[in-house]
């Protein structure tokens, strides 16, 4: 995608929420969704960002802190009105920002501030949904999306969740990209495909049949319906933590070790 084209995150933000009330790199707006108003957030490219390593759709210092500000502002508005409206994080983040200024000035804390804001919103009773429309990579996804009650993704080329970019992972593990892909076939958490991510029980819905780059009105409406259904599911569930992630049939199979750790640690917790 060239620099003049809006990013996928920007396209989907406009499609679902209209114009942002805040400037790049963090977009935010309140917009109708399923008969109520939801808060939408996205990280978008910011070619003129004063931090030269953070001009793309990455999460850097300003992105992290401004996400935290935007989410907390939304919480404060709802606090005043007494309703906990849904929050939708539109996720298209290819990495955290890699730079020495970022490390020096505490990018880890900036990203933690965003984690904190989303987690606090969830704990306060806002249904938080992550909608993955592009890459959801590593620390950037931790900061923007991974604290959600529910995670949904477009089943389209270019959507992926992973701990490290494919080329970098290949370098670090001294494998070829092809070998890495082959490994992902057998070792589910190593895979870059959304279908494999779903097999870990971490994805609540994979939305197929949508053109991620140029969705038509019907496709956008379908995504709205998915978001609305997920919001309802969060409210029906009632719990505000992430326990849901270990409960699906997929999690029973591919996160059996996680479940075992939770069960046996609880058994031993109070033992004498």
């Amino acid at each position: 995608m060239s620099d003049v084209q809006p990013s996928r995150g920007a396209r989907w933000f406009r499609a679902l929420a209209g114009e942002s009330v805040s400037h790049a790199p963090v977009w935010s707006a309140d917009a109708p969704l399923g008969g109520e108003t939801a808060h939408f957030f996205a990280v978008v490219p910011d070619p003129s960002n004063r931090f030269p390593r953070a001009t793309d759709n990455v999460v850097g210092l300003e992105q992290g802190w401004r996400l935290a500000r935007a989410v907390r502002d939304a919480m404060a508005r709802d606090e005043a009105s007494g309703t906990r409206r849904p929050i939708v994080a539109i996720v298209d983040v290819k990495s955290q920002a890699y730079g020495y200024r970022e490390e020096m000035l505490g990018i880890h804390l900036a990203c933690a501030a965003a984690v904190d804001a989303y987690a606090s919103a969830r704990d306060a009773g806002h249904p938080v949904i992550a909608l993955i429309v592009g890459p959801a990579m590593s620390g950037a996804f931790l900061a923007h999306g991974y604290q959600a009650n529910r995670i949904v993704a477009l089943d389209a080329p270019g959507t992926m969740v992973h701990a490290m970019g494919k080329e970098a992972a290949a370098r670090v593990t001294r494998r070829t990209v092809e070998a890495l892909d082959a490994l992902g076939e057998t070792i589910v958490p190593m895979s870059y495909s959304m279908a494999s991510f779903a097999r870990l029980g971490l994805l609540d819905q994979l939305i197929d049949g949508v053109d991620a780059d140029a969705p038509d009105a019907a496709q956008i409406e379908r995504v709205r319906q998915v978001l609305t259904a997920q919001i309802r599911s969060v409210r029906d569930d009632g719990r505000r933590n992430l326990a849901h992630r270990l409960e699906s049939a997929e999690a029973q199979k591919n996160r059996a070790a996680s479940i075992e750790v939770h069960r046996r640690l609880a058994e031993q917790w109070d033992a004498v």
């Binding site: 802190w65 890699y98 200024r101 970022e102 501030a113 931790l142 059996a256």
Partner: protein, 297 residues
């Protein structure tokens, strides 16, 4: 800053904290004789993913969970073992930390306070378990945010591995961070930055520069960590005790959005250095914070 003096009346040989393996680190932080390990090596919950890739497992997956007391109060310590896979977070090691924090939260919600300590010694996600490492780190973060409303969550970064990747965010969410000079805290390790951004961005072999950027001394001087201690088991223990004595902060560092946005606005990216950063990022606010402690539940 280094106010934690030895409690012994006469000079004694120091016991290095850095040189202790994770299990002994946890033991040394808990009150004498109270250490009780949960999901220890004999429980043999190992990584299901490493053998598939020809990597030999460790029976505790490189993470020690220990209960006991700290200052007479119920406590839980999660200690990451850097000697196994660089302290990397896999499905099991990360789930042990998340589950321990969630159980502490459950007890706190029932009115029974448990003091949580996390000993960070990790490069972040274990790449052989990639997406599950990332997932459990998100769960650890969620647990810290929920738990620290009830009780301070105290993090320790002693070194020598330091704390990187997604776990650096977990460390940043802690109520208090105790560091040594040898402890480094950063999101992307120097090698990763050199790899991703080029050697002109950062020369990872320039050790002095790396310490100046992300070392424990700089992190404390810029108020991104709270207490700098010597590599001394007594000093680390005293700092952890002092942190719990302070109670839950009125606003955690990661909640102080306006303060940090304001600091960032005062920084000129073109000229900022670790030294000039200290003029903007400093403890003045920290001191104000100390006068605003909430009563501990």
């Amino acid at each position: 800053m280094n106010t934690v003096a030895s409690t012994h009346p006469a000079p004694l040989l120091r016991e290095s904290f850095i040189e202790l393996p994770a299990r002994e680190r946890a033991r040394s932080l808990l009150d004498a004789g109270t250490f009780r390990e949960l999901l220890g090596p004999f429980d043999r919950i190992e990584s299901p993913w490493l053998p598939l890739q020809g990597v030999v497992c460790q029976a505790d997956d490189g993470c020690v969970i220990a209960r006991g007391t700290i200052g007479g109060e119920p406590a839980v310590v999660a200690a990451i073992e850097s000697a196994f896979q660089g302290g990397s977070i896999g499905e099991v090691s990360g789930s042990k930390i998340a589950a321990a924090l969630e159980l502490a939260l459950r007890d706190c919600e029932r009115g029974k306070i448990v003091r949580p300590v996390v000993l960070f010694e990790t490069g972040g996600v274990r790449l052989q378990e990639a997406n599950l490492g990332l997932a459990v780190i998100a769960e650890i973060q969620a647990a810290i945010v929920a738990l620290r409303r009830h009780v301070p969550v105290v993090g320790v970064i002693a070194g020598m591995v330091g704390c990187f990747g997604g776990m650096s965010l977990a460390a940043a969410l802690c109520s208090y961070l105790v560091v040594t000079k040898q402890g480094r805290l950063g999101m992307n390790g120097p090698e990763v930055i050199e790899q991703e951004a080029g050697i002109e961005e950062l020369d990872a072999s320039d050790r002095r520069r790396v310490w100046q950027l992300i070392g424990g001394e700089q992190r404390t001087a810029t108020a991104l960590a709270d207490q700098l201690v010597d590599d001394d088991a007594d000093a680390v223990r005293a700092a952890v005790h002092a942190a719990f004595a302070q109670g839950v902060p009125a606003a955690h560092r990661s909640e102080q959005v306006d303060i940090f946005l304001n600091r960032l606005a005062q920084i000129d990216p073109a000229t900022v250095t670790p030294e000039t950063m200290r003029d903007v990022f400093n403890r003045h606010m920290q001191n104000a914070r100390n006068t605003l402690r909430k009563e501990q539940v």
